[in-house]
Amino acid sequence: MNDVNLKDFAFTGIERGEIADLRTLDASDKHRILHAGVDVDSDAASAVFMHMDQSTVHCKSHDPGLELLDFNVAMKRYDNLPEYAWKLIDRDKDEFTKNVAENTHGGYFIRTKPGVQIEKPVQSCLFLKADNAGQNVHNIVIVEEGSELHIMTGCSTAHGSTHAAHLGITEFYVKKGGKLTFTMVHNWGENATVRPRSVGVVEEGGVFQSNYVLMNAVGTLQMYPAINLNGRGAIARFNSIIVTPKGSHVDTGSRVIMNAPDTRCEIIARTITTGGTNIARGHIAGHAVPCRGHLECKGLILGGGQMLAIPELDATVEGVDLSHEAAVGKIAQDEIEYLMARGMDEAEATSTIVRGFLNVDIMGLDGPLAKAIQEQVEQIDANAM
């Protein structure tokens, strides 16, 4: 289950032509990516990017303060991006990074103009449609000094059964006083192999906020995004919601390394297993003072599965303030009965409690994405009971 053989996937020969208007996607694909938080019928995006199988099929910015390019185009235009490409991640780190470095199919290059607040989010979709397709993407995000950006990226397969592999490199650069909110929703299937590799750097006074949602089955997913807080007063927050149904093997975590004084971070994960395996990691390192970090991982087992929480704190100077809290539990009967006394049946009560547990509201999401998440919460209960 854990061992991935990249030879099982075709990493060449599945090219796709440009799709000028994403509304022309067929209804089934639209529905799948909607569950990954991407609404192509909406015009509430500052820029729209889509990568299908091994090609960038759509790449348009509607905001003059925002540059959006296909990764390979950006590499050509900017002489291989010497300041940004493969600076945070070693291309020889593992077989997956090597595979992407040797044959990068695309990905997005997003850069804001200094001081500009991009009001509408950038919408990105990484899509796997062909069976046995292997996808190698490399993304670079640069939030210039004093600017603000929200990226909503949805990753999905065309069907719940699509046999495919997604390998993705992402490098984040949040410069002085910049703010990046990065919301990622995964909607894979039971035969998907997923290996994202993400690292970011936040400079003085910058903020990196990550929201991550995985509520459907995935064959095997392993990732451990890391953010380096390198400037004074930088902040990182990770909120994750992870559900692992039967057959899913998910090994994820978030890592923050505080290298400068006055830095803060918070990692919050809510995980539910309904039969799958979930390894919930978390790592906070404090190498400068004052710094403060809190790691919180709460899990529920509903109807089987395994949950392994591995919180780590690493402090190398006197005066750091780091804490962690990990718990694996169940839905309390008295909570269910409290809600039943208000007229909810058992399924309604359970779904209300699960929704509260998953802390969906913390991400402040609305619109179709919030609705899609709600639908998926209800689905969990149907599966668990």
Binding site: A332, Q333, D334, E335, E337, Y338, L339, M340, A341, R342, G343, M344, D345, E346, A349, T352, I353, R355, G356, F357, L358, N359, V360, D361
Partner: protein, 267 residues
């Protein structure tokens, strides 16, 4: 409205209610007194349908329907509401959201309702998370106002409440029992109110709630038996003077149910 016949209830192997007979009529407020451990809360929990309270005998009828084995949510939907003494905290569930769910699709305005119990600032808080005694009561009343039950079970409305909150809570409980109606203009309030009065079963240890509401009837529950039916204020007076020991005597009388001897005076 609510009829309890020879109700016997056990928690595990322990019998906590030993043959309860009680009939509460439409619009009537009934007060149940009793010392700690007498079975008061068990009776309420059984009426609401909580797990862990096994009915070993007898019958509960609500509005003509046998609800003895009915699931809790169906009882709630039939019109039974309950104010909890120690409700659980549900993380991530906002008070506002729960209030809306209590209304079950009926249109309500959470702000307006919350304002009546001075609770607007709590609407965005997780339900019961860090609430004080008085805040729990106000939150319970807010949920009941949204739920609009026709029969309310109150578990110790005065416990853990300071004097200032007690007045507010007392008033709201009264308003809830009196039946809140938004009258059409020109309508005569009196007959409507009588018709729409909410029935209630209130458990009290101290009796303070009697300062605020009009209770029609009262009785003492002692060691799983009901005894001493009288006017609620008289019962309270008697308990304040003689304590619950008198109930033991009363139970030992051959006929079991005896009216209080109100001619006696306190020593």
């Amino acid at each position: 409205m609510l009829k309890i016949e020879d109700l016997r209830v056990s928690i595990g192997d322990r019998e906590v209610l030993r043959g309860i007979d009680l009939h509460i009529k439409e619009g009537e407020t009934f007060i149940l007194f009793g010392p700690n451990g007498s079975g008061k809360t068990s009776l309420l929990m059984t009426l609401m349908g909580f797990s862990g309270y096994t009915v070993t005998g007898g019958k509960i009828t609500f509005r003509g329907q046998d609800i003895t084995r009915m699931p809790m949510y169906e009882r709630a939907r039939l019109g039974i509401g309950m104010s909890f003494q120690r409700p659980p905290t549900i993380h991530g569930l906002k008070t506002r959201h729960l209030v809306q769910m209590c209304a079950r699709g009926r249109e309500i305005n959470p702000e307006t309702l919350a304002a009546r119990v001075n609770f607007v600032d709590f609407l965005e808080r997780d339900i019961n998370a860090g609430f004080s005694g008085g805040e729990i009561k106000r939150s319970e009343l807010l949920q009941l106002m949204a739920q609009k039950p026709s029969f309310v079970l109150f578990d110790e409305p005065e416990s853990g409440v300071d004097l200032e909150n007690m007045q507010l809570i007392g008033k709201v409980v009264r308003r809830l029992l009196d039946g809140e109606v938004d009258l059409p203009p020109g309508a005569c309030a009196k007959p409507l109110k009588c018709k729409l009065r909410t029935s209630g079963l209130i458990i009290t240890h101290t009796g303070y709630i009697l300062d605020y509401i009009n209770a029609d009837r009262g009785q003492v529950l002692f060691e799983g038996h009901l005894c001493c039916e009288a006017r609620p204020r008289d019962i309270l007076e008697h308990i304040r003077s003689f304590g619950y020991q008198e109930c033991i005597k009363c139970l030992n009388e051959p006929s079991g149910l005896q009216p209080l001897d109100l001619t006696r005076t306190a020593p």
